[in-house]
C-alpha cells in the first residue's frame, strides 16, 4: 500500500514536472517577447546611449550597423531566439564581450549571496514562526509578532544605511562596500558580504516567519492535533511529527517566493553595498539598452522563479498523501 502510493506519487510528480517544464518554456518565451517589446518602447537605442550626447548621425548609423540594430525588430528577435535555443545568448552590445562571459562573472556572486542569505534566513524564520505559533497569544508570540511586523515594514535601504552607519562608519567592524575579487579568501568575502546578507535576511525572515506561523496555527486547531495532545505527545513532538508534515506545503511555497526575491530583487542592497551581482547588471543593461544582456538576465530571473515554484509544488505533493494518491 505504502509502496504503491509512493510510486504513484512519484509518477504524479513526474507528470507534474513534465507539464510544468513545458509550460515554463512557454512562459519564458512570452516573457522574452514582452521584455523585447517593452525595451523597444524605451527612448533611444544602444548605439545612441553608447555614443551619448556627442554622437553624429553618421556615427550612430555606423554603430547601429555594427551592432546589427539596423535590422527590423522581428528579425532581431528571431535571431536572438535562434541563438538562445542553440545555447548562445549572443554578444553584449555595450561590453563587446559574449553575454555568457559577462553573466558568468556576476551570476556566481548573486547565487552565493542568495544561498548564504537563505542559509541564515530559513532556519531563523522557521524557528521564529514555529516558536511564536507554539506560544500563540503569549508574550514571546507578541514580541516576535511586533519584531517581524516592523521588519516587514522597514524598507531595506533604511536598514542597510543604518547598518553601514553603525557597523562601518562608527564601529569600523565591517567594510561599507562589498568588494568581490577572485583572489580574496572566504574570510574576506564573508566580512564584506556580512551586511548585505544581514539586510536581505531581515526582509525575507520576516515574510517567511509570518507565513510559517500562520500555517502552523492553521493546523493547530485541527482535531488530529487535539488528539495527539490528548494522547500525551510532547508539544515539540506534536509540532515536528504531526503538524509540520501538514504545514510544509504553504511554508515551502512562502519560502520559494521569498527566495526568488533574493536573486532579482536584491538591486537596492546591491546598489548600497556596491555588490557586483546580477540585479545591478540588469539595471545597467536597461539604461544602456543592451538588449541581449537584458534578455539573458530576465531569462535567468524568470527561470529561477519558475524552478523555485516547481520545487515548492513538488514538495507539496510529496508531503501530502492525498495529493500523492491522486
Amino acid at each position: 500500500m505504502a509502496g504503491a502510493s509512493t510510486s504513484s506519487g512519484a509518477k504524479a510528480a513526474f507528470v507534474l514536472i513534465g507539464k510544468r517544464l513545458a509550460s515554463s518554456l512557454l512562459t519564458l518565451l512570452l516573457v522574452s517577447v514582452t521584455i523585447f517589446v517593452i525595451a523597444q518602447l524605451l527612448p533611444g537605442d544602444a548605439a545612441q546611449e553608447a555614443l551619448g550626447q556627442s554622437a553624429t548621425v553618421e556615427q550612430v548609423a555606423a554603430l547601429r550597423h555594427e551592432m546589427g540594430l539596423d535590422r527590423p525588430a522581428p528579425v532581431r528577435y528571431i535571431s536572438w531566439l535562434g541563438g538562445m535555443v542553440s545555447g548562445d545568448p549572443g554578444q553584449s552590445l555595450v561590453a563587446n564581450m559574449p553575454v555568457s562571459e559577462v553573466i558568468s562573472s556576476r551570476l556566481p556572486n548573486s547565487l552565493l549571496l542568495a544561498a548564504l542569505t537563505a542559509l541564515v534566513a530559513v532556519p531563523v524564520a522557521l524557528a521564529i514562526g514555529i516558536g511564536s505559533a507554539m506560544n500563540r497569544g503569549g508574550r514571546i508570540d507578541r514580541a516576535l509578532n511586533i519584531t517581524t511586523l516592523s521588519m516587514v515594514a522597514v524598507p531595506e535601504f533604511l536598514v542597510a544605511t543604518i547598518a553601514v552607519l553603525i557597523f562601518s562608519v562608527k564601529l569600523r567592524w565591517l567594510p561599507s562596500i562589498a568588494l568581490v575579487s577572485d583572489e580574496m579568501s572566504w574570510g574576506d568575502y564573508l566580512r564584506g558580504a556580512a551586511m548585505p546578507i544581514l539586510c536581505l535576511s531581515i526582509v525575507v525572515i520576516a515574510q517567511m516567519a509570518r507565513m510559517t506561523r500562520a500555517a502552523v496555527i492553521d493546523q493547530m486547531d485541527r482535531p488530529y492535533v487535539e488528539m495527539a495532545v490528548l494522547k500525551g505527545v510532547a508539544p515539540v513532538q506534536v509540532v515536528l511529527k504531526h503538524i509540520m508534515p501538514n504545514a510544509i506545503a504553504p511554508i515551502v511555497n512562502a519560502m520559494a517566493l521569498s527566495l526568488s526575491y533574493l536573486l532579482g530583487g536584491a538591486v537596492i542592497v546591491e546598489t548600497i553595498f556596491n555588490y557586483p551581482g546580477l540585479a545591478s547588471l540588469m539595471v545597467n543593461a536597461v539604461t544602456s539598452r543592451d538588449m541581449p544582456l537584458l534578455q539573458a538576465c530576465a531569462m535567468i530571473f524568470c527561470a529561477a522563479y519558475l524552478i523555485l515554484m516547481l520545487i515548492a509544488d513538488v514538495t507539496a505533493i510529496l508531503a501530502n498523501p492525498r495529493l500523492r494518491a491522486q
Partner: protein, 513 residues
C-alpha cells in the same frame, strides 16, 4: 617667423607661476610632505558599468577618464592653469596655426617595451575619423585634414583651418596615444604611469606602477584600485569607514560629515560646470527678447548658490566662461534678481499672466530645484510656470533642447573655443537655445586662428558679452566639484577641468601612511 611657438613661451611662464603658487599655498601640505614611493589606495568614482572601457576614444564618464589617464599619455597635458604643455611631444609648434610640427620625446616606451614612434601617434589620431571606432570626439577630429609621420620622431598635423588651441585639444583624454594597431581593449598597452593588472568592466580596474615611466621619479603609488560607487551616500560612507581613500563627486550636503572627520579632507575645485535655463529662440514665446531678459532677472543666483550648493558654487552671469578662466571678461554688469525689471520686460513681451511649462530633470543637476525657484518668483511678476519633472533616463535624447523652456547641463571644456563651438555657434548641433548671431560666429573663427594672447582675450571677451546680452540661456552659477580624500593622501590640487585633479591625480599623488 616665430620659431618657438606661443605655446612654449606660455608654458614657461605658466610653469613659473605654478611654482610660485605652490610656495604660497597656506595648506603647508606640499611644503611639509615630500613625495615618497609606495602605498596602495582604492579610489571610488561615480559610476561603473559594462560600458567601462580602456579605449580612450570611447571614454564617456569620469571613471573612464581617470582610467585612461592612469595608463596612457597625451601629446600634451593640462594643469591647473589651463595651459597645455608638451608631454609625449617634446615640442609642438606652428607658424600659421594650421600646420603643426610635433617632435616626439625620445626614450618613451609602451608597457610592452616597444618604443613610441610617429606611427603610433598618426594611428591614434586618425582612428577618431573612422565612424566604426565610435569616437566621442569625431566632430573635433574632422579638423585633422592630414596627420602624417615625417620621421621616426616627427609628426605633422595639417588642420582644415587655423586653430591655436590644438595643443589644448590634444590634452583631452580621448586623444591619448595608443600603440598603433591596437584592437583588443581588454587590457591596455600605454605609455602612462600605471599598467593594468586587472580590468573588469563594472567591477574594478587594478593598476600597478610602471617602473619604466618616462617622467623621472613618478609615479609614487605602488597600486591603485579604481571602483565605481554610483550611490553618493555609499561613496561617502566608504570614505569615512576607510574602505576607500579618495572619492569623486561629493554632494554639498555631505560635506559636513566629511569635515567632521579628522582624518578626511575636502578638495573643492571651482569649475566651469553649469546647469542652464534654455529658452529656445526659434519657438514662441521664449524667442521674444523681452521674455529672455525677464527670465534672466528672475534668477536668484545667491539663493541657488546657498540653498542648492551650500556655497560650493560661483555666481555666473549668463555666459559660460567662468571667472578663473584666462579669457574671462570681468567688466560685464552682473545680472541679479530684479522683480520690477522682470515684470516690465514681461509686460513689454505681452506675456503677463501666461502659463508656460518648464521641463526639468535630475539628469540636469539641480534643475528641478532651480525650476521651483523660478516658479516662485515668476508667480510674483505674473508669470505662471508649470514645472514638468521628467525622468533622467533618456532625458538628453527625448527632452533636451526639444521644449521652448527647459534645462541643460554642460561639463567643463578645456578651451573657450570648444565650449563656444559646441554650444553657442549658430550651426552647432547643441546650440541649446537655437540663437543665431553672425557676429559671434565670425569672432569665433577669428579667435580660433589668432596667436596673439591679448587679442584673443579681447575677442573672447566680446563673445561673452554677446552671449550675456542676447543668447537664450540663463546660467545661474558655476558648480564647484567636490572630492573627498583621506588626509594621508598627499599632493592633490584642484584642476578645474574636472574632479580628481582633472581626472589626472594618479601620477601626482603619494601616500604618507
Amino acid at each position: 617667423m616665430d620659431d618657438i611657438s606661443a605655446l612654449s613661451r606660455r608654458g614657461l611662464i605658466g610653469a613659473g607661476l605654478g611654482l610660485g603658487a605652490g610656495l604660497l599655498l597656506p595648506d603647508g601640505a606640499m611644503a611639509a610632505s615630500k613625495p615618497r614611493r609606495g602605498g596602495r589606495i582604492r579610489v571610488a568614482s561615480l559610476s561603473s558599468s559594462t560600458a567601462d572601457t580602456l579605449d580612450p576614444a570611447k571614454g564617456a564618464l569620469s571613471t573612464d577618464y581617470v582610467r585612461h589617464y592612469m595608463v596612457y599619455n597625451g601629446l600634451t597635458e593640462m594643469g591647473g592653469d589651463l595651459i597645455a604643455r608638451p608631454a609625449l611631444a617634446e615640442r609642438i609648434v606652428s607658424n600659421d596655426q594650421t600646420i603643426w610640427h610635433i617632435r616626439l620625446r625620445k626614450g618613451v616606451t609602451f608597457h610592452d617595451g616597444a618604443s613610441l614612434t610617429a606611427q603610433d601617434v598618426v594611428w591614434s589620431l586618425l582612428r577618431h575619423k573612422d565612424p566604426a571606432v565610435g569616437s566621442k570626439l569625431a566632430t573635433i577630429a574632422e579638423q585633422f585634414a592630414e596627420v602624417r609621420a615625417t620621421g621616426k620622431q616627427d609628426v605633422v598635423i595639417r588642420l582644415t583651418g587655423p586653430n591655436a588651441d590644438l595643443p589644448a585639444i590634444l590634452a583631452q583624454s580621448h586623444f591619448l596615444i595608443l600603440r598603433a594597431g591596437t584592437k583588443d581593449f581588454r587590457t591596455a598597452n600605454g605609455t602612462g604611469p600605471y599598467m593594468v593588472s586587472q580590468f573588469r568592466p563594472g567591477v574594478r580596474t587594478l593598476v600597478r606602477r610602471n617602473p619604466n615611466y618616462w617622467k623621472s621619479g613618478k609615479a609614487w603609488l605602488d597600486e591603485i584600485e579604481l571602483i565605481g560607487i554610483p550611490d553618493e551616500v555609499s561613496r561617502v560612507n566608504a570614505l569615512l569607514s576607510g574602505d576607500v581613500q579618495l572619492v569623486i563627486a561629493v554632494n554639498p550636503r555631505s560635506t559636513k560629515r566629511i569635515m567632521a572627520s579628522r582624518g578626511h579632507g575636502l578638495l573643492e575645485t571651482p569649475s566651469g560646470l553649469y546647469t542652464n535655463l534654455i529658452m529656445r529662440q526659434d519657438q514662441l514665446p521664449t524667442g521674444n527678447a523681452h521674455f529672455v531678459a525677464a527670465m534672466k532677472y528672475l534668477i536668484d543666483r545667491p539663493l541657488i548658490k546657498r540653498a542648492l550648493y551650500r556655497g560650493y558654487a560661483t555666481i555666473a552671469n549668463d555666459q559660460p566662461i567662468p571667472p578663473f578662466h584666462p579669457y574671462y571678461r570681468s567688466d560685464l554688469p552682473q545680472t541679479s534678481l530684479d522683480l520690477d525689471k522682470a515684470r516690465w520686460h514681461l509686460q513689454r513681451a505681452g506675456l503677463s499672466g501666461v502659463r508656460l511649462p518648464v521641463y526639468a530633470s535630475p539628469a540636469a543637476d539641480g534643475s528641478v530645484d532651480m525650476a521651483s525657484i523660478l516658479q516662485e518668483y515668476g508667480s510674483r511678476v505674473g508669470l505662471n510656470l508649470a514645472v514638468n519633472r521628467v525622468p533622467a533616463d533618456g532625458y538628453w535624447s527625448t527632452h533636451w533642447m526639444k521644449h521652448p523652456l527647459g534645462f541643460g547641463n554642460t561639463n567643463p571644456r578645456p578651451t573657450a573655443d570648444l565650449l563656444f563651438s559646441l554650444f553657442y555657434k549658430s550651426d552647432a548641433a547643441w546650440n541649446e537655445s537655437g540663437w543665431k548671431n553672425p557676429r559671434f560666429d565670425r569672432l569665433l573663427l577669428e579667435a580660433r586662428g589668432e596667436a596673439d594672447q591679448a587679442r584673443r582675450k579681447q575677442l573672447y571677451g566680446e563673445m561673452q558679452g554677446l552671449v550675456h546680452h542676447h543668447c537664450g540661456v540663463g546660467i545661474p552659477v558655476f558648480i564647484s566639484l567636490i572630492d573627498g580624500y583621506d588626509r594621508r593622501l598627499k599632493g592633490l590640487r584642484p584642476v578645474s577641468l574636472g574632479g580628481l585633479m582633472g581626472y589626472q591625480f594618479a601620477e601626482h599623488v603619494w601616500w604618507e601612511g
